[in-house]
Amino acid sequence: MKKTLVIGGGIAGITAAEKIAQNGAEVILIEKENELGGNFAKLTFTFPVLGDAKALLNKEIDATQSLTGIEILKGTTLEKVNGSAGNFTVELSTPAGKRTENVASIIAAPGFHYMEPTAYTEYLYGHSSKVVTSLEFEKMAAEGRLPKGKVNVVFVHCVGSRDKAKGYRYCSKICCSYSAKHAIMMKKTNPESKNYVFYIDIRALGKGYEEFIRSAMEEYNVRYIRGRVAKVLPEGEKLLVRAEDSLIGNPIEVEADLVVLASAMEPPVGSRELAQVLGIETDEYGFFQEIEANVRPCHSTKPGVFLAGSCTQPMEIASAVGMGGLAATEALILAR
């Protein structure tokens, strides 16, 4: 049996490596950072079932680490790839120095990156400490720094998504759901808080998602207002959020103590460079291009290189896990 290389220690990469090892093949899992977990590790809760993200992830990581046949290399990047499907020679740059390996196939699962909405100066991002991204909100929640007392919190959808001028034209798919999750988290931690979510369209694309978002409205009293936030103005200690309630057709103003921007999922940093090293193609945004998006979602444009997780498109955890498994089975065929 030949070895397989998995790039990226997020949930998709971990799943792929785990499945290959459970099937008795050898696998090398490389991760750029010094910890496994990727973007999953930055979350506190999962959705639509509010599960403890840390516990779920740690269980997966522990299961993977306990398997034989898996070699986990942290702080490692891919330098060079030669050869073809079934017989790749890869050069890795590990903290211990350069290392060359012979693998049958490569699974690329570098994940995604939360966009830094620095271009959104109308939302005062980077100019006011009260305007944060969802990722920073997760961190605030984990550290117990969410605002206390009678506060207004505004959640803004589509920051960087569905925006040709300052971001990307695609929909990031999961922001609707995680903003609902954040609003529920906020209400649970601080029952005195009032939460407003500004949306354009609600995209609840998954089992239980619609019910989850409805529960935010029905049980947690989150006010959903259709309209993209136009601007955020500083007014003394508070922020003024201006938008249109487009179902009524009138401009409105909300006084807010915290504004949370649901920033877009963008291709991972350096995705185009990685694609060049791997010899595969990317789409116009920098996501990896599948050879056939419907029935071959994990095949890249180069035979022997498989894709898993949100490096191909914005994706929720369950899909990333599913895709990791699919990539693993494809890799196992070549490893034989």
Binding site: K164, A165, G227
Partner: protein, 236 residues
């Protein structure tokens, strides 16, 4: 009366785009997100004004509603909608072009009539659109003598535009049909605020509208996008 979608001219925008030579574009990309209206200064003070709804009607092809609306004439031309627009729709140009179309349908002449004087009396006669003549009655007393201030500042007592330049813009106005267009409108007399009689003042407030402009019969406009709102209509 019930709105009928079979009446809509749904390919109007597609046909219009090439004719307007790039003055109107990207409207088909509108997401109806409402970012434009959220920041709009006109919408903030006149609630029935809504750029999002107008773009929607335009793309759907409900041309009648757009062109006969009062709201079309309430835009501030500030361009904030373009600055905010995630799809780079330059709505100012849409308003500008649609106003021309509305005038062709006979709407909005009471407004244009008021403005025509600036073009005829100032632009074509003096080469400058805003003259040293004070039209704001509230500042007439406080303001100094501009020609003296200009002289003190080392400028000529009057802003100079050469005769040749005025002849040139007049010819251009004739060549491009602007003069004949203005003749059609007729224009209103620009009143002198310092010597204005109560009768004139009344005329100044109630803009007279011609019943016909050339071959076009003029009409009054409608509030097509909601209740007018605002301070003026709150009591009525």
């Amino acid at each position: 009366m019930l709105e009928q979608t079979k009446d809509w001219d749904d390919d109007f925008y597609e046909k219009w785009k090439p004719i307007a030579m790039g003055f109107v574009n990207e409207a088909q990309k509108c997401l109806q997100c409402g970012k434009c209206t959220g920041q709009c200064p006109a919408a903030a003070v006149t609630p029935s004004y809504n750029p999002r709804k107008m773009i929607r009607d335009l793309v759907n092809g409900n041309i009648k509603r757009v062109l006969s609306s009062v709201e079309l004439w309430q835009c501030f031309f500030c361009g904030g909608c373009y600055a905010a627009c995630p799809m780079d729709i330059n709505f100012q140009f849409f308003v500008f072009m649609l106003r021309l179309a509305a005038m062709n349908e006979g709407y909005g002449w009471e407004d244009v009539k008021q403005l025509e004087g600036y073009a005829e009396k100032d632009y074509l006669k003096n080469g400058v659109t805003v003259s040293d003549f004070e039209r704001n009655p509230f500042v007439v007393d406080t303001r100094g003598d501009i020609s003296k201030i200009r002289e003190a500042a080392g400028l000529t007592s009057k802003r100079q535009v050469s005769d040749r330049a005025i002849a040139e813009i007049n010819m251009l106005s004739d060549l491009t049909g602007m003069t004949s267009f203005m003749k059609k409108i007729g224009g209103v007399e620009l009143l002198d605020c310092r010597t204005c009689t109560p009768e004139q003042e009344k005329k100044c407030k109630h803009k007279p509208m011609p019943s016909r402009v050339g071959k076009t019969k003029t009409h009054l406009r409608f509030y097509n996008y909601g209740e007018p709102g605002g301070k003026k209509h709150a009591e009525a």
